[in-house]
């Protein structure tokens, strides 16, 4: 087991390095630079700025400098948010995204797995069709439609909940964004669970369990649920990494100060260091989550245990 863990962690290093090098080159290949704006800077001021941020150096040296700083955990100063370092921005944005995304995934998992299992048990019943139709709608209606609708109804119309922002951080501010984030995930997880559960219920070991006279409840909880969750778990890894690093659409619509907005704004502003910081952070999270998924997989399915 330990060997497996160490091997996996070591193999993550070249992946990350390639990711960093690619992102570093790609963002610099994009036309336009961090100091371009409607007000064109006088050449001497621009030259001065480029020198201050070492952009006048050859690319390999910039990369070397970046890697050396990264090794010390320093993501560098943001080009756009001139009073903040990228580390500070990630530190302020990530907890918000993590909280929203974590709650949304938890909600999605609870509702999705329950609804999917119920639908599978009552296959082709009214409940099944109801759940699957709702899930289909949930998957096909995009976030940017659902979120404004939620705001219109619950904030502008009924005035039950705030329309945006995090305010003082009270749970009231989290309700709408969490629901909007969770909805498509609920739908997807419900469909995955149903499909997988139906397959599991048809497999020989369940038939054996039934033949032994075990109650359906016992079969479900002790035998069927674990294998059912396999596809859900493999979906959860990257999905959780994506959701907890912030949904750009949701954060824009609700005005939530999460990590997702930095990604897009960083790219649009050619804020090289901010984009790099978010890419490295996001890449690391994906690797970690995939690793966790593999560990959970091993626990759920003895056949793939390392």
């Amino acid at each position: 087991m330990l060997k497996f863990v160490v091997r996996r962690l070591l193999s993550a290093i070249p992946t990350l390095l390639i990711l960093i090098a690619l992102a570093f080159c790609l963002i610099r290949l994009a036309p336009g630079g961090p100091f371009d704006g409607e007000k064109q800077l006088p050449p001497e001021i621009e030259a001065n700025l480029r020198a201050a941020y070492h952009l006048d150096e050859p690319l390999y040296r910039q990369f070397g400098r970046y890697m050396a700083n990264l090794a010390r955990g320093d993501f560098g100063p943001s080009f756009q948010y001139r009073d903040f370092s990228v580390t500070e921005l990630i530190r302020s944005g990530f907890p918000v995204s993590l909280k929203l995304g974590g709650l949304a995934m938890l909600l999605a998992l609870l509702i999705g797995v329950t609804a999917g299992s119920v639908a599978a048990l009552r296959q082709n019943s009214l409940i099944d069709h109801g759940v699957m139709t709702t899930a289909m709608i949930g998957i096909s209606i995009p976030n940017f439609v659902v979120a404004p609708l939620l705001i219109l109804v619950f904030a502008v119309g009924l005035r039950w909940l705030p329309a945006g922002g995090l305010g003082d951080g009270s749970p009231r501010h989290l309700v709408l964004p969490v629901i909007a984030l969770a909805l498509p995930q609920v739908a997807y997880i419900a469909r995955l669970t149903r499909g997988s559960m139906i397959e599991v219920l048809r497999s020989p070991f369940i038939r054996t369990a039934r033949a032994q006279g075990l109650s359906m409840r016992r079969i479900m909880v002790l035998h069927a649920l674990k294998p059912t969750l396999l596809p859900v778990v493999s979906y959860l890894g990257p999905a959780t990494a994506a959701v907890v690093t912030g949904s750009v659409v949701i954060e824009q619509i609700f005005g939530v100060p999460g990590l997702g907005r930095y990604f897009v704004q960083g790219a649009l502003n050619r804020d090289y260091t901010l984009v790099m910081g978010v890419v490295v952070f996001y890449g690391t999270l994906i690797i970690v989550f995939n690793f966790l998924v593999d560990l959970i997989y091993g626990w759920l399915d003895p056949r793939v245990r390392p």
Partner: protein, 549 residues
Amino acid sequence: MPDGFALPCRLGIVATVLLLTGCGGESDPRSAVGIGGQTGQELAADQTLHVGNYAEPQTLDPHRAEGVPASNILRDLYEGLTSEAPDGAVVPGVAASWEVSADGRVYTFRLRDDARWSNGDPVTAEDFVYGFRRTVNPATLSHYSSILEPIDNAAAIIAGEQPPETLGVEAVDAHTLVIRLTGPTPYLPGLLNHSTTYPVHRRSVEEHGNRFARPGQLIGNGAYRLAEWNVQSHIKLVRNEHYWDDKATTIDTVFYYPIENQDTELKRFRADELDITNDIPYQQLNWIRENLGSDLVVSAYLGSYYFGYNVTRPPFKGNAKLRRALSLAVDRDIITERITNAGEIPAYGWVPPVTGYPPAEPEWAGWTQAERNAEARQLYAQAGYSAERPLTVEILYNTSENHKRTSVAIASMWKETLGVETKLLNQEWKVFLDTRRRKETTEVFRAGWIGDYNDAFSFSQLMHSANEMNHAGYASPAYDALIDSAASEQNTDVRAAILARAEAQLLEDMPIIPVYFYVSKHLVKQWVGGRRPNIMDHHYTKNFYILEH
């Protein structure tokens, strides 16, 4: 010259509100109703203001900041030598009065002696000298320092050729400041409420370096001080009890929210979470007019929306007739009525309506569109084009629904009137900026310019051949000579006339297609008082108050 017309408005909250109408000229219907008594127009107990502010400011360091969102907040946090009244008129700020030398090149400012930093320290002339020198010092990395180039030696200091100490700004004593200029600059008082001219608190800057502009560290001299800065969430300011005019300030707390999405902003306004929005979603303009009409505030804004020709390359190089033909064939009324539709003013000239400037509208501004089209066809033919040999041209714009619709409209007007074949090319903002600056492939490009100060020069100088924002590549010795002579002209009327002649020259050469002058568009709750529209769209929270609602 505004030789220290001290505002006689310091009589406490209620009096300020009443006097705003008295000091400002035309009356604001909101403040015209008496405050208090039987009218129901009591001040609200909670004086907290929530303002939509578009984007996160890059920094609250006044010398390194740029852009409208940062300026809006900095106006509350700092005060320059001059300030602005609610209607935009330049009024004394930290300087109580000033004098100008006969040649217009030396300004002497008398600073008020009750001006204080937010920690209680007195604001002195030395603080201003330190601030000006810091802005032009290349090490500060100010993006906007070139705006100070009218000051003696500023250009050489910015270019790194001279030390900052040689700047023509000098403290004669603690409360007297002298600014020496390279030439008469009649707009200087208006420039002195730009953030690059704000003083900074020397001790805290030296202690915290470039990170002094953060909560707990920022010491300002404005009516408010920085309480919280939660990036991408909000910036919270509370009143600065040490501000010299604090007793006339009504709003206690102001929140600025970075909300780039206008639909989001509108919803938060409708949910009463915002008192003032930064903008409105233009697709919902009609809905807003019908449902929130009394909250909608639209007013003229110091900005010019235009398209430019790349005059350094064919087909527009040396072809003024073709440029005029295409410009005449654009029906501005259709664009402002059907596309932008918020009350934008059709533009036939380059300089928006600014104070003390006779606009140089060309003759054809008064024609009907049919007459313009007829003239356009003639010019088009004289330039050597016809139905058999049509012009093929490309319009470049940055990706945006409004620019797209405007470009499509212009292309179809050209097609219909002249038979021009137009290709449309849109690019992401930074790509667009890069392409436009290179002048290698562009033919016709979109552009817009918002004036930095309320003077024609803020626009006129843009078309000077040496200006880096002259994207058309327009280089007319006659135009340049007029701009240069205006810069050294002492008589303000003569100067304005010279600038008008320059604009007439520009419109004769037609390196650009003026389309419209901008308007500012905000939603403002009925209970916000003391706010008046002005052409710079500059507002100071200290002038606002919230009515009971």
